[in-house]
Symmetry: D3
Subunit: 340 residues, 6 copies
Amino acid sequence: MSTRRVAILGGGNIADKNHIPALRQLAERVEVVAVCSRDLSKARTLADKHGIPHAFANTADLYAQARPDVVVICTPNLLHYSQTMEALANNCHVFCEKPPAITAQQAQEMADLAERSNLMLGYNFQLRQSAEFALLRRCQADGLLGDIYHIKAHFLRRRGIPGWGYFTDKAMQGGGALIDLGVHVLDLALCALGYPSPNQVVGNTYDFIGKAGGKGLLGQWNPQTFEVDDAAVAYLKFPNKASIMLSASFALNMEAEKDRNLDFFGTKGGVRLFPFSLHTELAGELADIRFPHLEEIDIQLKNTAAFLDACDGLPSSVCTGRQGAILQRIIERIYQSAEE
Amino acid sequence: MSTRRVAILGGGNIADKNHIPALRQLAERVEVVAVCSRDLSKARTLADKHGIPHAFANTADLYAQARPDVVVICTPNLLHYSQTMEALANNCHVFCEKPPAITAQQAQEMADLAERSNLMLGYNFQLRQSAEFALLRRCQADGLLGDIYHIKAHFLRRRGIPGWGYFTDKAMQGGGALIDLGVHVLDLALCALGYPSPNQVVGNTYDFIGKAGGKGLLGQWNPQTFEVDDAAVAYLKFPNKASIMLSASFALNMEAEKDRNLDFFGTKGGVRLFPFSLHTELAGELADIRFPHLEEIDIQLKNTAAFLDACDGLPSSVCTGRQGAILQRIIERIYQSAEE
Amino acid sequence: MSTRRVAILGGGNIADKNHIPALRQLAERVEVVAVCSRDLSKARTLADKHGIPHAFANTADLYAQARPDVVVICTPNLLHYSQTMEALANNCHVFCEKPPAITAQQAQEMADLAERSNLMLGYNFQLRQSAEFALLRRCQADGLLGDIYHIKAHFLRRRGIPGWGYFTDKAMQGGGALIDLGVHVLDLALCALGYPSPNQVVGNTYDFIGKAGGKGLLGQWNPQTFEVDDAAVAYLKFPNKASIMLSASFALNMEAEKDRNLDFFGTKGGVRLFPFSLHTELAGELADIRFPHLEEIDIQLKNTAAFLDACDGLPSSVCTGRQGAILQRIIERIYQSAEE
Amino acid sequence: MSTRRVAILGGGNIADKNHIPALRQLAERVEVVAVCSRDLSKARTLADKHGIPHAFANTADLYAQARPDVVVICTPNLLHYSQTMEALANNCHVFCEKPPAITAQQAQEMADLAERSNLMLGYNFQLRQSAEFALLRRCQADGLLGDIYHIKAHFLRRRGIPGWGYFTDKAMQGGGALIDLGVHVLDLALCALGYPSPNQVVGNTYDFIGKAGGKGLLGQWNPQTFEVDDAAVAYLKFPNKASIMLSASFALNMEAEKDRNLDFFGTKGGVRLFPFSLHTELAGELADIRFPHLEEIDIQLKNTAAFLDACDGLPSSVCTGRQGAILQRIIERIYQSAEE
Amino acid sequence: MSTRRVAILGGGNIADKNHIPALRQLAERVEVVAVCSRDLSKARTLADKHGIPHAFANTADLYAQARPDVVVICTPNLLHYSQTMEALANNCHVFCEKPPAITAQQAQEMADLAERSNLMLGYNFQLRQSAEFALLRRCQADGLLGDIYHIKAHFLRRRGIPGWGYFTDKAMQGGGALIDLGVHVLDLALCALGYPSPNQVVGNTYDFIGKAGGKGLLGQWNPQTFEVDDAAVAYLKFPNKASIMLSASFALNMEAEKDRNLDFFGTKGGVRLFPFSLHTELAGELADIRFPHLEEIDIQLKNTAAFLDACDGLPSSVCTGRQGAILQRIIERIYQSAEE
Amino acid sequence: MSTRRVAILGGGNIADKNHIPALRQLAERVEVVAVCSRDLSKARTLADKHGIPHAFANTADLYAQARPDVVVICTPNLLHYSQTMEALANNCHVFCEKPPAITAQQAQEMADLAERSNLMLGYNFQLRQSAEFALLRRCQADGLLGDIYHIKAHFLRRRGIPGWGYFTDKAMQGGGALIDLGVHVLDLALCALGYPSPNQVVGNTYDFIGKAGGKGLLGQWNPQTFEVDDAAVAYLKFPNKASIMLSASFALNMEAEKDRNLDFFGTKGGVRLFPFSLHTELAGELADIRFPHLEEIDIQLKNTAAFLDACDGLPSSVCTGRQGAILQRIIERIYQSAEE
C-alpha cells in the first residue's frame, strides 16, 4: 500500500509538538506533504523545521497543489467545522483536534458528510490511548467490572486559566473549561458506557475567578477579557439508568494544582483511573488490585495510528465523527442548562 | 428557670447511647422523666439503667401521666411523622431523629403545626456541631470564602450495608443510603448556602450490590430482603446559580471503607471539610491554610444543647422544622427523579 | 450431643491465658472438669480462677476421679510424649501443645497409638487459623496460585531469647529457636504443600549470641546456662521438586525486633503472608492484590474449635498426629544435619 | 613502566559500554590495541567508535598481528574457556567476564594454566567494588561484625527474563538465573567468608514461568525456546559451620520488580548490604548504624583497575582464577543437586 | 537499715501524681508519714487517698508530731527557700521541686546550710533519669562524643501558657517560661558539661503574646493578669570556651505545639537527644547511629530513688544543692540581662 | 538611557558562573566591557568565553583603557577593600561580593567614600531575592507578623569545609564559617529587623574538627593548614529588645549534610523561611499557612538587577554599603567576643 499524503491545517504548538512528530514516526504509513496557515511565514517555518515540502497560506491552494489524502486540523475550535467540511468535500479523511466544533449542529453535519462520503472523520482524544484507559477496557472485556452504572469524571485546575492563545475568547473557543478540559474526561466516560446519548443533561457554569483575576499558574490571564466558563459542573442520565457526574475547571479554590481523574463504578468492580486501581471481591474478600508495571505510552503516536487504522478500515479505538456529534450535543446541552 | 421535663420515644441504641447521655449532662436544663417503647421491658431496662423514673408502652399513658414539656423521638423513620404530630398536639417541643419523615408532605405538616403551635421542632443533624463545620461558618462570616457557588458532598461506604435493624426495609425507612447517610451531608451543604430550595433536582438510585450480596463490613446483610437504594447520586441547582453534587452509598466498589466529605467552592476561598483546609490567595500568593488544633467536640451534647437554646428562644444552630421540610422535599424529588 | 469433659495438664501461662479461656468460650461443646499440675497449689489456683471443679497433682488421680474425654497438654516439651501416651491409653482425645515431642520416634508412636485407638490427636499450631493463612488456602483452592514450588519461611527475633521458663534448657525443650519458633512457620509451609515428607533435609544451628550474652528484649537471659540453638537455618527438598528455605532465631544481628513471615511462590501467583498480598498476572498485566478488610481472629479459639471438630469427625484444619510426626522428623533431621 | 597492550574479544554491549570506556580512562596504564569479533564489521565499528587501531575476525590473526599483553573476554559464556586457554597460551593476562565458564572442570583448568604460566586470570565481578561491599570489608577488618556465620544472598527479578541475547539458551549460557544473576551475590558471600569450598551443596531449579510465558519487563521472551532455570535456590554448608542461603530468579511471582541484597550475620554485628546498615550493640544498647554519605563509585573502572593491580603483583580485590574455579564448582553442584 | 520517715509539703497535683506514688513504690526504703498543706482539708484528702497516717496545716506541728527524716517540698516556688531552710534546721534531708528558689542568694544559702548540716538537698529534675540522657552520659563516658563544646537547648510551646495555677504570677513563681520550662533543659546542658559556672550570660525575655491574649492549648490564660516571660532566650559562655544557646517559651508563633530538645556537639560526635541519635565517623565514613530499643522509664521513680541514694551516701545522679545554686544564679543573670 | 559599561575584577568561578551570565541577561541595561585578573590568561579566557572585548592584568590599565561606569568585584575577601576604594576613586559604582571586607573599619570607609562620592556601593547577598525572603517582606508589610522580636538564623554544614580555594586561609578570608556562610543568614535577619546596630554581641568560634581532619563532603580539606573557625555561634541584642541567635559551621557533628534556615518570631505571626510557612491565629484558631506555588527565581539575576536599580536611584532591595558596614562590624565583634 502506498503511503497517504497528509496536510496539516494550523501552524501552532499542537501541530508542531504533537501531530507532526507523531506522523513522522509513522513514515511507513504517511507522508506529510504540506502545512497551511493563514500566516504563511508560520507555515513555512514549521515546514522547514520538519522537512515538509510545501507551505500554504490558504486551503484552496493547498488542495489544488498538494492533493492530500488526509487532513489534520489543528486550528482554533471555530474553524473545525468549515475546514472539516471543506476537507471532506476535497475527498480527504479528516483527523480533527478536539472539541469537534462549536455547536451540536455543526458536529452533526460533519459526521453526516463523512459517512455519506465514505471518509473517516476522527477526533484527537488521546487519553483513550493511555495505558490506564486501555486497561480499563480490557478489564471490562474480561468481566472484572460487571456493568458500569455510575461514573465520576473531573478535570480541575486551581489557577490554570491559560495566559496565552484563545482559551478565554468565547467566539473562537465556544466556551472555557468545559469545552477545553471537560471534553477529555467526558469522552472517556461515554466510551466506557458504549457512547449512549443521555436522556437528561443538567449543569452550571461559573466565571467568578476568571473575571476577578488572581495568581496565574499557566501564565497570567487578563480578567478584563475573560469571557468563558472558569468552572462547569454537569449531571447526565442515560436510558439504562447509568449516570455521569462531570466537573471541569480552569480555576477553582481547591488544594491540588491539577486534578484529573475518573471513577467507574460497576456491579462487580470499580476502577479509579489515575493511578489505576481496581476494587472488587476475590476469594470471598474485598480486594484492591494494582498494576505496578503499566507502560508509559506515547498517546499521540498511538492515537494517530489508531486514526490511520480507521482510515484503513481496521478496528480502531479512535473517536469517530458519530461519537463526536454525541459529545458535542452534550456539551451544548450543558451550556444551555447553565443558562436556564 | 425550672428544668424542662423530657420524654424519650424509642428504646434503641440511639436513645441509649446518644440522647439520654447528652440530656443527663445537661441536668441543669432538663430532667428526663420517661421512656416509652412498644416493648415495655425495653423501656423499663433503659429507664432503670439511666435512673429515669417512668417507663411506658404507649404514648397515651406517657402524655397522661408523665406530662413532658419536651419529647425526643428516637424511633424508626416511619413513626417520626405521627409521633411528632401527637407530641406537638400535646404541647411538647420535639427533638426528632433524622431524617424528618418519609414524605415531603409529612415534613411540611410537621413544620406547619410546630409553627402554628409556637413550639420548637428540631432535627438531630449533629454534624452541624462538628468543629469543622463550625469553623467553616466562622470563615464564611469573616469573608474568607466569598460566596459559595458549588458544593460536592458525599457520604460513601464500600460495603457498609448494616446487617441489623430496619436499614434495608423500605417501608420502615423510606429509602436506603440517601435517606440514611446522604441527608447528613446534604443538610450541611444546604446550611452553608442559607438553606434555599433548589429549582432543579435530578438523580439516580441503584441497588445492584445490595441485591447481589457480598462481604459485609457492618454485619452481614441479607440480599433477599434488600429493598432500598445502596447508592444514590443527585444534582441540585439553586435560583442563584449555586449547585450541589451529592452522592451517598451503603455499598460501592471503591477503595476506602468509608469516605465522607464536603468541598465548598467560594469566590474567594474553598474549603475541604475533613480534615479542614482552606485554599485561597494571601499576600499575592496561593495559600493553603490548616488549623492544627481544632478541638474534639461531643457533637450530640452540643446539638442537644442547641435544640434547648432554640426552645428557649435563643439563637441556635439546630436544624429547624422548616429546614427539615426543605430537606425532605429534596430527598423526595431525588427519589422521584430516579424513577423517571 | 452431650458436652465433652476436658482436663488440663499443666498449670502455666499457656493453660491460663490460651487454652482455658478458649474452652470456656466453647461451653456448649466442652466442660473443663480438672486441672493437673505437679504443683497442686498452682493447679488449685488455676481451677479456682476459672471455676473448674477439680485440681490434681498427678494424672493417676485425674483419670481415676475426673474421667475426662479430652486432655489438653500444656506442659514442657519433655512431657508431651509420656502424657499423650497415657491419655490415649485412658481413652482420651488429646490436644497437645507444639512441638509434638522431643524425638521423631516419640511423635511417630504418639500418632500410631492415636490411630490404633481411634482417638484424635491434635497439635496446637494456631497460626493455621489466622485470617492470612485461611485466605492463602482459599486462594490455592480457587487456583489463584497454581502449584506452589518454593517457600521461604522465617521466624526471627533480634534479641528475643526468653529470660524466663525452660526456653534455653535443652533437656526440657529439645532445642531452641528451631523447635520453639521455627516449627510454627514450618507447619504452615508444609500444610500449603500438602504435608509431604522431604527427601532431603540439611541445616545448621548456631549459639554464638546466646552463649556470649547481650541486651535481652524479652527479659534478660543467662548466657552461662544457655544450651540451645539461638539460630537455625535449613533447606528442604521434596519429591515433587518443591523446596523450603527455613530460618528461625532467638537472637540474630538484624534490624527488626521480630520478623515472621512466609513467601509462597506458585506457578500462577505468589503470596507474602504478613500482611497478605498476592502477586500475579491479570488482564495481561502484572497485578498486586491486597485484601484490606481481613478480620482479626481469635486464633486460639478457632484452633480449639477445629480440634473439637476433628474429635467429632468433621472436616478440620487442626494439625493431626500424623502431620506432627512428619514435622518432628524434619526437626530431628535438621538438628542431625547441623551436627554433621 | 610502559603501558600494557589490551585486546578485546567480543563486540557486544558489555565491551562497548563497560570495558572499553573503563580501559580508556586508565590510559596511563593500558592501551587498547584491538577488537576481535567473529562479525568483523561489528569489530570494526567498535574500534572506530573508540579510536582503537585494529579490528580482527579471528583470534589467530589477533595474536599474530596485534601482540597483546592483556586479553579482555566479553563473549558468550560458552567461549570463555577456549578463549582464556588460548590467551594464556599466547602469554596474555586474561580479564574474563562472569561466569568463569560452563563447567567446573573448565574453570579449574583455566586457573591451573594461569598459575602455571605465571599469568593473571581475573573475573569481572564488579559488585566487589561497590561502596557497600568495600565498607563491609572495612567493617570486618575493624572487628565490627565478629565472625560471619550465616549469609542470605538473593538476586531476584519478577519478570526479568531478557528478551534478547543468549540468556535463555542453555548451550551458550550454561544455565539461567543462577549462572547469570546468582553468581554475582554468591561471589560476594564467598568473598566475605574468605572463599572457602563448601562441604555440602543442595539446591533446586525451576522453569515454570519461563516455559509458560507472561508479561516481560526486560523485553518479551519466547517461552517456546526457553531452556534454562528461571529460578534457583541453594543451600551451602562450610567446614567451619558457616552457611549460605542463595536464591536467584529471572521470573518469580513476587512484588518487587527486582530485589538484590545480602544479609551478613556475624557474632558481633550484622549487615544488610543495600542500602548499607549495620546492626550491633553499642554503649550497652542495641544500635543501628547508617552511613549516609557513601560515594557513588564507577565499579567497572574500579574493577578493571583492580585487575591491572593484580597483573602488577599489587594487592587486589579482583576475583582470581582460583576463586572462579571454586565458584564454578559450586554452581555446577547446585545444578547437579537440582537434577537429583 | 530502717526506712526513712518522709513528710510531704504541699497538697497539689505534683505531690499527688508524682512524688507520693514514687515514694510508695519505694516502700522498702521510705515510709510517707505526713502531708502538710495550709489547706488542711486538702492535706487530709491526700493523706486518706494514699493511706498516709498524718495531715497537718502547718509545719510547726508537722515537725513536732511527725518527726520526719526527709521532707519533700511540692509547694509554689516562692516557698521553696523558707521551707527548705526550716526543714534543714529540723535535721531533715530535703527533696525540693524545681526551680530551687526565686533568687540566686536563696539557692546559695540553701546549699550552704545543707552542706554545713551534713544533710542532703536534692532538686527534682527528672529528665536526668530519662533513657536518653542516661545514654548520653554513657556515650560520653565511652568517649563517643569527645569533648562537648556547644549545646543548643530549647523547651518551646506554641500556646502553652497554663490556664491554671500560679504560672503567670511573678511573685509566686519568680518568672515564666524560663524558670518553669527552661530550667529543665538548662540543667541537662550544664550536667553534660560538668556543671561549670559561665563567665558570661546574656539574654532577653518577652511577653507580647501573653499580654495580648490568644487561643490557649493548656487551658485559657488571662492576659490581664499575665506578669511573666512568655519567651526567653539566652547565651552562656564558659571558661573552657564551651557555650550554650537556650530558649524557652510558653507562647511563640511556631508550628509545633511543643518542641523540647537538646543538641550536644562534641569533638568526636554529636547527639540529638529526642529521639536519641548519634552522629560521628566510623570505619572512615560519616555514620548515624540510632538505638531502637531504649526502655521507657518511670523517671520520677528513678529520680526519687536517686535522691535516696544520695541521702545514703551512694553515688547518685540527682541534682544537688550546689548544682541548684549554680543553676539559679544563671537564671537570675538571664533575667538581669533581659532588663539591661 | 545608554547602557552602563561594566568591568569585572577577578577571573574565578563566581565571575564566570554567577555575575557575567546575569549581566549578559541584562544586556539592555549594561555592557560588560572588560575582565581583570592578576593572571592575564585567566582574564582572557573568561573574556573570550563570554564575548567580552577586553582583558587586563591590572586595574590601572583597566580604568585607563576600558573606562567602566560599574565595577563588579569577585576577588578574595582580602582585596574587597582596596579594589572598592580604587573603583570609587575612579568614579565607578561598585557591586562587591560578600563579605564586605576583612575589618569593620574597612567596610566603614568603603561606605563613607561611596556616599561622599554619590556612587552606589552594593553587596551581593542574593538570598534577599529568594521567593521566600521576598514573601516574608510582603507578609511583614501586610501586617501578618506584627513586630518581629526574635530570630534564629543558622547555616550549618556537617562536613562541608571546602577542599579548594582560600576558604581555610585566615589572611585571605578573614575567617571561616562565620564570614563565609553566617553572613548570608545574618544579612537576612538584620534586613527583617530594619538593619539596626546591636547594643550587645557575644559569641564563640571553634576549630576542633577542622584541625583534627575527617571525611570531607566538599572535597577533602587539609587539617594541617586549617586556620579558621569551623563553627561559630553568636547572640545579638538590639536596642528595641529584639534578639538574634546565629550559628554557622563548615563542620559540626550533626545529622543533616546541610541545614540553612531562619525562624522569625513576631507578635502576630511567625515564619520559618525554608520551606516557607507562616504560623498565626485566624478565625479564632491557630493556623498554619503554606504557599505551594512560590516561583523558582534566578536570585543572582534579580540581585544584579536590584543593584542596577539602586544605581539608577530607584527603590532597591540590594544590600547597601551602609548596611554592609553594620554587618561587618557585627562579624568583627563576634570574632572579638570569641577571643575574650
